[in-house]
């Protein structure tokens, strides 16, 4: 009888190409996703050393970070540097023969939305991308994580990655969620509880009834932010919801291969008596709709709370909180629900999927955004956008006063023209509230799509339960 294993152990073992005595391992990579910002130097490295892409059929590229999301983008609108990066990806995809979704393709979108949507991401796979939010794909029970550009070059050349095994951490969310509480509130609350370095050195498996109850979209939101908790990757064991989501997608297996895949996928769960190096348990009913107040994703509080004081913290966090509160232009003791905003951003690889747009539209239906606000919805992909139009969601957003954009990363990291001006404050469904993240001196409050929609209606951070 073999020793009990976690899901991570099982995926790791299935991809081990070579293991040295000191544990340094060579792991096979099943899917390599590529975007325009972190890949040009890697392709250049291949050219300089005369190497080719080892497995072009397992390599999928799409431009997302730089691309404008305004409706006129077919007519240009990209600055010179961005255009050079996108052109470089066009050329690299062509020269090296990898799968490619150009800006003009309806399937173009954020790489972490495009992968699952087209059936590239499958249970039990190893998935890497030169982007930290690769953790998203863990929702399928795939071991997925971000890598740097040198590692992008390494994977292109060898289809493997040099790794040391991480430790196993279980995050269990028990019971049911309360009304108004979403996947985003789960993932932010976990980071609030464990800290942004709480997951360092671990791969997290999320489990428990509240996780099982989530849709695939919700699970992707949870895993997406595993990196914000410091973990190498987040995982959720695949189940019927996963298989239903995958089945029939363009690059998912068909026929006999589907049956063979299912036979293996059904074994992908952590054994009952598997060893965990760390366990965190949170009751679903204890999670509230939350927002961030500071400049780290761990600065999470229920919307009903007040801005904390630096003295509430210990160690290096005292100085960090002081800096954050000043940067954010807040006052300790101020009610979070009194904080007024200028901008609302709904989108990103965290919350740019169809379910996110449905949740926001449900709040906005028949309502208008607060006068003077700038509000935009940036669907995660062209396919999400098309579906939202078909379901009548686009109309709800437009009627409410939102801009209805084309797909891309947009204001999540503000590499394209979608940026905050200094001092502007944004209710954002993205994943990082770092200083300057959404624009120089811009102020970001992270929250769920429903909460962002509620903020758009009132013009301040708002408890979505008051509008439901």
């Amino acid at each position: 009888m073999t020793a009990p294993k976690t899901l991570y152990d099982k995926i790791w073992d299935a991809h081990l190409v070579h293991e040295a005595e000191d544990g340094t391992s060579l792991l096979y990579i099943d899917r390599h996703l590529v975007h325009e910002v972190t890949s040009p130097q890697a392709f250049e490295g291949l050219r300089m050393s005369g190497r080719s892409v080892r497995a072009p059929d397992k390599t999928i590229a799409v431009p997302d970070h730089n691309v404008p999301t305004t409706l006129d983008r077919a007519n240009g609108g990209m600055n010179e540097e961005s255009r050079i990066q996108v052109d470089a990806l066009d050329k690299n995809a062509k020269d090296f023969g990898i799968h490619y979704y150009p800006v003009s393709d309806v399937r173009q979108g954020i790489v972490h939305i495009v992968g699952p949507e087209n059936g590239w991401t499958l249970p039990g796979m190893t998935v890497v991308c030169g982007d930290s939010h690769t953790a998203t794909h863990g929702a399928f029970g795939a071991l997925a994580h971000g890598i740097g550009t040198s590692e992008v070059e390494h994977v292109l050349a060898t289809q493997t990655l040099i790794q040391k095994k991480s430790k196993n951490m279980k995050v269990e969310i028990t019971g049911k969620l309360n009304p108004g509480v979403t996947a985003k509130d789960i993932t932010l609350s976990v980071i609030g509880a464990t800290g942004t370095a709480g997951g360092t050195g671990y791969v997290i498996e999320y489990c428990g009834e509240a996780i099982r109850d989530l849709s695939m979209e919700g699970r992707m939101t949870v895993c997406n932010m595993a990196i914000e908790g410091g973990a190498r990757a987040g995982l959720i064991a695949p189940d019927e919801k996963t298989f239903d989501y995958v089945k029939g997608r363009a690059h998912a297996p068909k026929g006999a291969q589907w049956e063979a895949a299912m036979n293996w996928w059904k074994t992908l769960y952590s054994d009952d008596d598997a060893h965990w190096d760390k366990v965190v348990t949170i009751k679903g009913e204890d999670i509230a709709p939350v927002v961030t107040w500071g400049t780290s994703p761990e600065d999470v509080l229920p919307i009903t709370a007040v801005v904390p004081a630096p003295e509430d913290f210990k160690g290096g966090k005292v100085e960090a909180a002081k800096r954050s509160i000043e940067y954010m232009g807040l006052t300790p003791g101020q009610k979070l629900s009194d904080v007024e905003i200028d901008t609302v951003f709904i989108g990103s690889c965290t919350n740019g999927r169809i379910e996110d747009l449905r949740a926001a539209a449900a709040i906005l239906k028949g309502k208008k955004i607060k006068e003077g606000l700038r509000a935009m919805v940036v669907p995660g992909s062209g396919l999400v956008r098309a579906q939202a139009e078909e379901e009548g969601l686009a109309e709800i957003f437009i009627d409410a006063g939102f801009e209805w954009r084309l797909a891309g990363c947009s204001m999540c990291l503000a590499m394209n023209p979608d940026q905050l001006a200094p001092g502007e404050r944004c209710a954002s469904t993205s994943n990082r509230n770092f200083e300057g993240r959404q624009g120089y001196k811009g102020r970001t409050h992270l929250m769920s799509p429903a909460m962002a929609a509620a903020a758009a209606v009132t013009g301040k951070l708002t408890d979505v339960r008051d509008l439901q």
Partner: protein, 201 residues
């Protein structure tokens, strides 16, 4: 890759926790298709005002730290984005070693690929090195990778741990891809096996 053996240089103190890669190199500088030239924009939004003038209080703008080769930072250094532009910028500035109580995973990996040595140490030891760094230009620290030792300007020696494989690669300036391609037969064998075990991939 450049070798890292020993380094004696000025250490700059940056006593902030959660220094993220957006701080290290803001996104407007990620539009390059090269690895070089980012040092001038290292910590750009902390280092310069909106008009591009240096912020005199920022550590790397102070006369005594302009030639820093070592950085002493706070917990969770390098968190956030996977951008390798962060270590590229650090190296291009001239910093070859970063010391902190803990590092974010991807940044930590990225450092080793660029001949930068990241050293995680217990908080109490980082506190000692932070104090030493605060002395300024006349105080030089020495990092000895072979012996895994840091020597402060006062001669105090602090030992550090490092993964043996990574140490070997840094000491010899080895290229990962070259090393992996030596195992091409194992990769071939794995792929052949996969045609049976997971043909749908």
């Amino acid at each position: 890759m450049d070798k890292f053996t020993t380094l004696t240089g000025i250490a700059a103190p940056l006593p902030l926790i959660n220094v993220d890669t957006d701080m290290i190199i803001p996104k407007q500088f990620l539009k390059t298709i090269k690895r070089e030239g980012l040092g001038v924009n290292l910590f750009d939004e902390m280092r310069y005002d909106r008009e591009g003038n240096e912020v005199p209080d920022f550590v790397l703008n102070k006369p005594q730290y302009r030639e820093a080769e070592i950085l002493v930072g706070g917990d969770n250094f390098g968190c956030g984005s996977s951008r390798e532009h962060a270590p590229w910028a650090i190296k291009d500035f001239g910093i070859r070693c970063v010391i902190a109580p803990s590092f974010a995973d991807i940044f930590f990996n990225n450092c080793f690929k660029n001949g930068i040595l990241p050293i995680p140490l217990p908080q109490e030891q980082v506190d000692i090195l932070m104090k030493d760094a605060e002395k300024g230009a006349n105080a030089r620290m020495t990092i000895d990778l072979e012996n895994q030792e840091i020597t402060t300007s006062d001669g105090e020696v602090i030992k550090f741990e490092i993964d043996p494989f990574r140490k070997h690669c840094l000491l010899n300036g080895l290229d990962d891809i070259g090393l992996t391609l030596e195992k091409a037969a194992a990769i071939d064998a794995y792929e052949t096996g996969m045609e049976q075990s997971r043909p749908w991939v």
